[in-house]
Symmetry: C2
Subunit: 177 residues, 2 copies
DNA sequence: TAAGATACCGAACATATTGTACAGTAATTT
DNA sequence: AAATTACTGTACAATATGTTCGGTATCTTA
């Protein structure tokens, strides 16, 4: 890839990331981004169709990074699940400031959407050999959704508790399944 | 209240409601609303500061209606909770078409926000005399969040299952607390 | 290192939406 | 019947979006 392209992309991501530390996603304009990235208007649009597409790529990168080798080696038992969830939370803690800007907005759904997609795979394996009295997709949706709510709760609490503790809480409330 | 004001408000609500049946909230513009309601632009703004304020009022009305005498008489036991949750779902079913337009958008959070507010009261009573090993606010958040996820799941499934069944599922998965 | 390809610049433009202002008209209240 | 209040509709400023295009800088490759 052309060094110039790489540089502009980097500067856009960087600017976006910085803006997310102090602004909610929905209030950030393309103008803000190109000002901070110090690039031409048309340049932005050759790289990204819309602001949403930019966010989408950012989310994609984040989750590609987090769930990289997370899933392949999953053993499927409870302890393993718990440590993996804690691990995910650790990654979120790393990009704490961006997460605030992304989540604290109506469009936090986009981020949560990606999270759910990835969690689905994880929990699907966890539930593989379970018999239940409720529909399987309801149960899956419940577990994934509950963990997302846990994440949001944690973020709203400024991520004060250690990831392990939060994962602990979560496992405790869903324990019976 | 002046008959004219009442009429205009009604026509705005009606137009908004109709638009929600075929469009997502975020894609509806003030222009769309005043066209459909057949009122002047300035008239809209004398009634509502922004589109969000309109949605807010609509949500407020919906939940004022649903949770009216719902809470005062709450007995606090499991069966009672279940039937109340089912009752809430019945109300949602009544305004099915609007719900789709509201929920199927990034700003569904506003609606969900109201739902959570009201559910908080309900579940707080339910949890009043519980001892747990996880923080009380985590547990409360978990229950409220899980029910919201249940609602979303149900809506995404076109509300096919009867409300009682869905409430049943929900009680089943949170049963241990 | 010269030539061609590619990416960026920046300014201009069309379009859409928002929210405000104001003078005129109609309905309602007292 | 007079005074108040609400609606109309047009116009306007402000902001944001997404596109276009000629010119310039930077890369690649032959």
């Amino acid at each position: 890839m052309d060094r110039r392209q790489k540089k502009t992309r980097e500067s856009i991501f960087k600017a976006f990331s910085l803006l997310l530390e102090t602004n909610r996603y929905e209030h950030i304009t393309v103008q803000d981004i190109i000002d901070k990235a110090d690039i031409g208007r048309s340049t932005f649009y050759t790289h990204f169709e819309t602001k949403d597409m930019l966010l989408k790529e950012v989310c994609h990168d984040i989750f590609a990074h987090i769930f990289d080798n997370e899933l392949c080696s999953y053993k499927g038992d409870k302890n393993d699940l718990q440590s993996r969830l804690a691990h995910i939370l650790w990654h979120f803690k790393e990009i704490e400031k961006e997460i605030f800007g992304i989540l604290a907005s109506a469009s936090g759904d986009l981020f949560i959407g990606y999270l759910k997609e990835n969690l689905n795979l994880l929990f699907k394996m966890y539930l593989a050999d379970f018999k239940t009295d409720v529909p399987a997709d309801f149960l899956l949706n419940y577990l994934v959704g509950s963990f997302c709510e846990t994440v949001k709760w944690w973020v709203n609490n400024k991520m004060t508790e250690p990831p392990e503790t939060v994962a602990n809480y979560f496992m405790a409330v869903i324990e019976t399944h």
